[in-house]
Symmetry: C2
């Protein structure tokens, strides 16, 4: 056994996102004795846990006491550390999965054992971000085949908890993403639960978008439920819309996404493994997947949609999920509001059958709920009619209210105090809306961190536009953020593509 | 144009190795207004420079003032920042080369334009470590072909300065590495310069080994010369052995190596581009490459040596270098000392023709000097005899002394005050020595940071060993480091493989 060294741990209060970092002084005896320097990966053990952290060396900073080590937030959490606890430091051996990644990089195929080694080392923080980047790169494009994707999906599912609903059908819904305002989930859950099916939906918060489903739902009711609380809601009401982040259902996915997102390589295999491992972990049996297709959506062409659908269906079939893909229009945002509170207002209008409810959001929600009901009812093709009936007769609205109360209490969405109208500079027919620029304006206005921030679309593709026609309204909670969003919106190309009058 | 925001920069005094990091408080108005969070890459401009830095958010640390941004050492240097200077912050556009990396990841080949984009963005700190890891991964194994390697070599050379020696032959020498104590360079330089040739040698410091050539040479003379000082030495003496790190000859190489080293993927293409771009930048025309082959050396088999040699020769030919590969025995360390000062003592003994000079170091140095002289003298095959003569008649020793004086003055290598003998636990014939474990013991003893630390080998493969035979002596500058090295040496498998008596 190699000699070990213990030194007290303190919390650095530095958020490095999910990367474990340890800060030590350059004159720390451990740095010198172990030959640790600022490119070293260090293994730190505490209690039964151990992590690999990147060492950053303090050369001119005086905020750390001699012979102590400060941990970034990610390292602090992963070790469940407490102030002054003695961490045991050593040079890490290369993790077992490094050779599995190496083999894939060199062109070999991944089997289940390789995937399990990689995923368990990822979850245990034994792989560095560079290792994970190599793994992501080696599987980019079409470099994961279907068998490898199935192995990766199984490994990711096994790395976290799996919810057990005690048998019977468990319905679920997922959207491949990239479309601002596409907040169908709470409506679909309400309709499907009103139809008597079980639909325990876990959703994510926004990472790069102006709102995730969990952010929007949180405007209306608490979403940070633990598993027992989630079970109580589902047992009582058949459905829920809660934040998945605190349930530890897919710990590997969160860690891989941290690296995937900045690299931004498309990989049907990695996307399928990410989505379907989460569905399997949630205990789902019947899943509808909304796949918006459009030039500024995540899936950009019919060919890309076909390849991704084939992969999802093959993997879903292999792991025992009943899966249906629903391709939808991805050329423009959905509904009128973009941002948590504005989206919540839209979906309430749909549920309450108000005359000014956004018809595109209503229609998409009915399509998805109908397709999911068909899937659960052996494709009897009456799903959409049933969904429409449950929306029309108020059963879905009543169910949604009950779900909100069960999750901790319904609350009304508010309106932001600072607003500005943005008007057209040219005339013509509105041809398309750039999802990415619209999302950026909403984020600069404060979404999703500020619930009431975002923007309200006042036109939709196909509308005739005059010079001066109000196109959208920016909503912000502070005057400064309003200016930020306006400045960006008024510079560069307009997100509204106005063509010749039809 | 998008709105920009300026805030004052301060130096964080945190060494993140070469990664640019910016630290901002979570309540900084810029974080909130721009939607910066702890997974954001931030562009910072100052004067004519700009970098992409990873944002780390201070959530519980109070060492940074409101609305200021602290820079890691790498970011501070790259921006040439001064305390309080106003940095201009913005969201970076994806660098142009990201699409070149993406294309390579998806299986397309790199051309010269793609390589130049990637390398210039690397040098400008516009690619994140994750991007660079993706690039390294996409070229691992045999995924860079010879044409791509040539393009990468040219791009790497063009990214830095190229030394111009005004025509004529410029000799050079490189070792592929992995063999502790293989410190032939100063001897080869002395012999070749004594023969009247020009050999302006730039060497590196150790990164993961117990000593680099620059570390060992620094025991004997100053090595951190700038280009004018290096020229004066070469003009006066024909040769030099200086540290290449301060000459900016291969800025891309240093940045790629930061990521390559922890990933540790073998890539003949990347190795060839790294070595040969540096030789081209140094203005070399005739280069001998020492390639030790052995199971614990960098090149592990004859097949691997053949593939790497073929690649080096093809690329060298394409960029106009006269190149010769010299494969050598890589089964054990060379000489007796491991660590800067101990290796310096070995090479002085060889140069001074002392009777107890390590014969393996002498013989390898003569082989390499002879092969290089042959290459420069149109393969007349008298090179080794000439080298031997110049060593024997004292011309090489005199030349070495003159080079040291010209570099700033010769100094005698000292001996460490703390030493311990390690003896054999079993008897038999010494079959092999594990280069990697030997290197680790020397590093734990303090090498290369402490010049006199390391170890002295007292036996070599082929020797008969009795129980209790002294195998090596650990040298340390402090008692604590001596214990560290002893503890490691006495645990785990012995680095000395003792077989049956012959």
């Amino acid at each position: 056994m190699e000699t070990v060294h213990s030194i007290p741990l303190v919390r650095a209060g530095i958020d490095t996102y999910r990367q474990p970092v340890v800060y030590m002084r350059s004159d720390c005896h451990l740095c010198r004795a172990e030959g640790f320097s600022a490119l070293t990966q260090v293994e730190i053990a505490l209690g039964g846990r151990s992590i690999i952290a990147a060492l950053n060396v303090l050369t001119g900073a005086d905020w750390l006491a001699h012979d102590t080590a400060a941990l970034s937030e990610a390292a602090w959490r992963a070790l469940a550390a407490s102030e002054g606890a003695l961490g045991i430091f050593s040079h890490p051996e290369p993790p077992a999965s490094a050779s599995a990644i190496r083999a894939k990089v060199y062109g070999q195929r991944l089997d289940l054992a390789a995937c399990e080694a990689i995923i368990s080392d990822t979850v245990a923080h034994r792989l560095s971000d560079l290792d994970i980047a190599a793994f992501i790169t080696a599987g980019a494009g079409d470099r994961l085949d279907t068998e490898e994707t199935i192995a990766l999906t199984r490994a990711m599912q096994r790395a976290g908890k799996t919810l057990d609903w005690g048998g019977g059908m468990v319905l679920d819904k997922h959207c491949v993403g990239g479309l601002p305002g596409n907040r169908t989930t709470p409506i679909v859950v309400a309709i499907v639960a009103a139809a008597g099916f079980r639909i325990p939906k876990t959703s994510s918060r926004a990472i790069t978008s102006p709102a995730g489903t969990a952010d929007t739902m949180e405007v209306l009711a608490p979403v940070a439920l633990d598993i027992p609380a989630m079970r109580r809601v589902v047992d009582a009401e058949g459905g829920c819309v809660v934040w998945g982040g605190s349930l530890d259902l897919s710990p590997a996915d969160d860690l891989l996404i941290r690296v995937e997102r900045p690299l931004d390589f498309d990989s049907d295999g990695q996307l399928a493994a990410s989505v379907l491992s989460k569905k399997a972990s949630a205990g789902s049996t019947h899943v509808i997947i909304d796949m918006p297709v459009g030039p500024t959506a995540k899936v950009r062409s019919a060919e890309a949609a076909k390849a991704l659908s084939d992969r999802l269906l093959a993997v879903g079939n292999a792991i025992g999920l009943s899966l249906r893909i629903h391709c939808s229009d991805g050329t423009a945002p959905v509904g009128r509001g973009i941002g948590p509170s504005l989206e919540a207002r839209d979906l309430l209008k749909v549920l309450q059958c108000e005359p000014d409810a956004p018809q595109d959001l209503r229609s998409r929600s009915l399509d998805l709920a109908g397709a999911l009901l068909d899937l659960a009812r052996s494709n009897d093709c009456h799903g959409r009619a049933l969904a429409e009936q449950l929306l029309h007769n108020g059963a879905a609205a009543t169910k949604f209210q009950a779900i909100c109360e069960a999750q901790g209490g319904f609350r009304e969405p508010g309106l932001a105090p600072h607003r500005s109208l943005e008007c057209a500079q040219s005339a013509g027919r509105l041809a398309a809306i750039d999802n990415r620029r619209i999302a950026k304006i909403a984020k600069l206005a404060g979404a999703p961190g500020r619930q009431r921030a975002g923007l309200l679309l006042l036109v939709q593709p196909g509308d005739s536009i005059e010079v001066g026609t109000p196109l959208y309204e920016i909503h912000a909670e502070t005057p400064g953020e309003l200016v930020w969003a306006q400045d960006y919106a008024r510079s560069g190309p307009s997100p509204f593509q106005i063509g010749d009058p039809a």
